[in-house]
């Protein structure tokens, strides 16, 4: 028995042996420990935010390293002060995500699958669009919104926030549709499907993963938006939570627990999506840049 078990191991070259010892369980365990320490250091600010949000009354002097006596007072004050803003953020972010998908998806399909004159120019414009500083866009949009009556409106914010989601979605969805076999679409067209029907009933269902990725990121971009909210709203009526948090920092320096509770609530979509939609987040994180 021993010989039988030993036999396959005998032709281990020195190189393989070196490789094995480098991947020994002890080494791997050590790496995991080191990895956990690194991630703990990187995420400490996030922990510290949660910890502060649970501190009683936000009195900084009584801060503990662990929230052993969690106090939800910060959260109730945050919701009282920022509840309306959170609803605004949610509506704007959902609106921007839907708008991004509606506009980007057909364009991505056309760029990936049709021979259209000017499509390479359009693609170039999309890439350049992502590089334009937001302040330049906000500067000009303010003057236009002012004359069109779009300042302080949900619609105005949705349109402005989609400046992040639309170019990104076009690139992500197009990259997916490029790899999509043309034969399937062509076969559908032989069967008498027009472009519109082929797109709607064949291409869309197959591309659903890239649509989800694009939708999630468009949502997060709009949810995180601060610049458009800061410049295109002027009053209290329409105010996303990012802006609410900003003015909170300015005026509420003494009550850190409600500021941090607001920060925690404003982080929830990112955290939930990171856990629940990990696959899509990973796809979007690399897809937008490298492909």
């Amino acid at each position: 028995m021993t010989t039988m078990l030993d036999a396959p191991r005998s032709p281990v070259t020195p190189r393989r042996r070196a490789a094995l010892s480098r991947n020994s369980p002890a080494r791997r365990g050590l790496r995991t420990t080191f990895g956990i320490v690194l991630v703990a250091i990187m995420l400490f600010p996030v922990y510290w935010m949660v910890n502060a949000s649970l501190a009683p009354g936000g009195n900084s002097l009584s801060m503990q390293l662990l929230p052993l006596q969690p106090d939800l007072g910060g959260y109730s004050r945050a919701i009282a002060d920022q509840g309306q803003n959170l609803v605004t953020s949610l509506i704007v972010a959902v609106g921007a995500a839907v708008l991004s998908l509606v506009i980007a998806t057909p364009c991505a399909y056309a760029l990936a699958q049709f021979p259209i004159r000017g499509s390479s120019t359009l693609l170039f414009v999309v890439l350049i669009a992502q590089m334009i500083p937001g302040i330049v866009i906000a500067n000009a949009l303010y003057t236009a919104y002012n004359s069109l009556g779009l300042l302080n409106t949900i619609g105005g914010l949705v349109l402005a926030d989609a400046t992040a989601g639309i170019p990104f979605s076009i690139l992500i969805i197009r990259a997916f549709m490029e790899s999509f076999p043309t034969e399937i679409v062509e076969a559908a067209q032989i069967d008498g499907c027009g472009h519109v029907r082929a797109f709607w009933s064949i291409v869309l269902p197959v591309s659903i993963n890239s649509l989800i990725t694009a939708g999630i990121f468009s949502f997060l971009f709009a949810w995180s938006d601060f610049l458009m909210a800061l410049t295109l709203t002027t009053g209290q009526s329409i105010r996303p939570v990012t802006l609410g948090l900003y003015s909170y920092i300015g005026t509420n320096d003494t009550d850190w627990s409600s500021v941090m509770a607001t920060a925690v609530i404003a982080s929830l979509p990112a955290v939930i999506l990171m856990i629940a939609a990990q696959k899509y987040i990973a796809a979007g994180a690399t897809g937008g840049a490298v492909k």
Partner: protein, 315 residues
């Protein structure tokens, strides 16, 4: 920008193959791109043109009432360039961008190399690392303000507990340390993005190359220098270029942490442009400075394209 060149070339190549059976009138086909083209024209094209014309106009709060914005030639540019804050903001933008990117890249590369080794939980830990990048920037600004708080912030408490400092450092409220603090936070924010892209670049390098290198005695630093770096070059270029483009226009973080202060210590071209338009209500000045920002961004793109072309020529 590699993406641009590659995508265009790819589009040109694949076009003839896709012609042929593709039915449907041109009208239907253009219908697919019309909404996106219209949106891009209104929300990117118009702002650029408007910003350009505004930069030659006296466009102030009075304009919003009277509707009159007289053309003033280059007066806005002269005023913006002569503004004493401009030199400061330009220098700050340079320091902020270069130091942030260097820090993000070095730490990001180290983490990407570490996570490339196989060990239990590496996938979970790597995806947790993404969190700072996904949080709204203004949330990160709020959290770091609390951490960097002079009297009760945890950083000062930690540093004095371990005996590194004797008196608390006014991180965000002293003009000596504010820029350092803002850069530090921005490095923290940018690490995940660098790790993700560099890690996926590392994954694309075939393992056999390292095995072959090992036979020739190339391990550790030599393997990194002669196998990893050359093969990673395209990814590194993309990471650095995107880094510059994202960093140069950062506004949320600086406004949230310091508002550009104290005494303009953290003022950048982007924050100053915001201030001119939306605090001083001089859109002509803000637009002129915004155009300076666009020119800087384009300059980096050109430098990058040239470096890339040279690298491609060398093979």
């Amino acid at each position: 920008m590699t993406t641009t060149a590659a995508a265009t070339a790819e589009a040109a190549r694949s076009a003839p193959r896709r012609r042929g059976r593709a039915a449907g009138s041109a009208l239907v086909r253009y219908g697919f791109i019309a909404p996106a083209a219209l949106y891009l024209a209104l929300f990117f094209g118009y702002p650029i043109v408007k910003n350009f014309t505004m930069s030659f106009q006296e466009y102030t709060s009075a304009t919003f009432f009277s509707g009159v914005a007289p053309f003033v030639g280059l007066a806005n540019y002269r005023a913006v360039l002569a503004d004493p804050v401009f030199a400061k903001a330009l220098a700050n933008t340079g320091i902020f961008t270069i130091v942030s990117i260097a820090g993000q890249f070095v730490i990001g590369m180290a983490l990407a190399l570490f996570f490339r080794k196989s060990f239990p939980l590496s996938g979970v830990l790597r995806s947790m690392l993404l969190l700072p990048w996904l949080l709204p920037m203004i949330v990160s600004a709020a959290v770091w303000r609390w951490i960097l708080e002079q009297d009760s912030g945890i950083l000062n408490e930690f540093l004095s507990a371990v005996g590194v400092i004797s008196s608390p450092i006014p991180w965000l409220t002293s003009s000596d340390t504010a820029l350092i603090a803002v850069v530090m936070v921005n490095i923290w924010l940018g690490i995940p993005f660098n790790v993700v892209l560099l890690y996926s670049g590392l994954q694309a390098i075939p393992e056999q190359l390292y095995e072959a290198g090992e036979i020739d005695g190339a391990t550790g630093w030599a393997a990194f220098r002669h196998i990893t770096l050359p093969l990673l070059r395209p990814v590194v270029s993309v990471v650095l270029l995107l880094g510059v483009i994202y960093t140069i226009k950062v506004l949320d973080l600086i406004l949230g942490l310091t508002g550009g202060g104290p005494a303009n210590a953290t003022q950048t071209i982007a924050t100053r442009s915001y201030e001119m338009s939306f605090v001083e209500f001089d859109f002509g000045h803000g637009a002129a400075l915004g155009n300076v920002l666009i020119v800087i961004a384009l300059l980096f793109s050109v430098i990058y394209l040239r470096a890339n072309a040279r690298a491609a020529k060398k093979g």
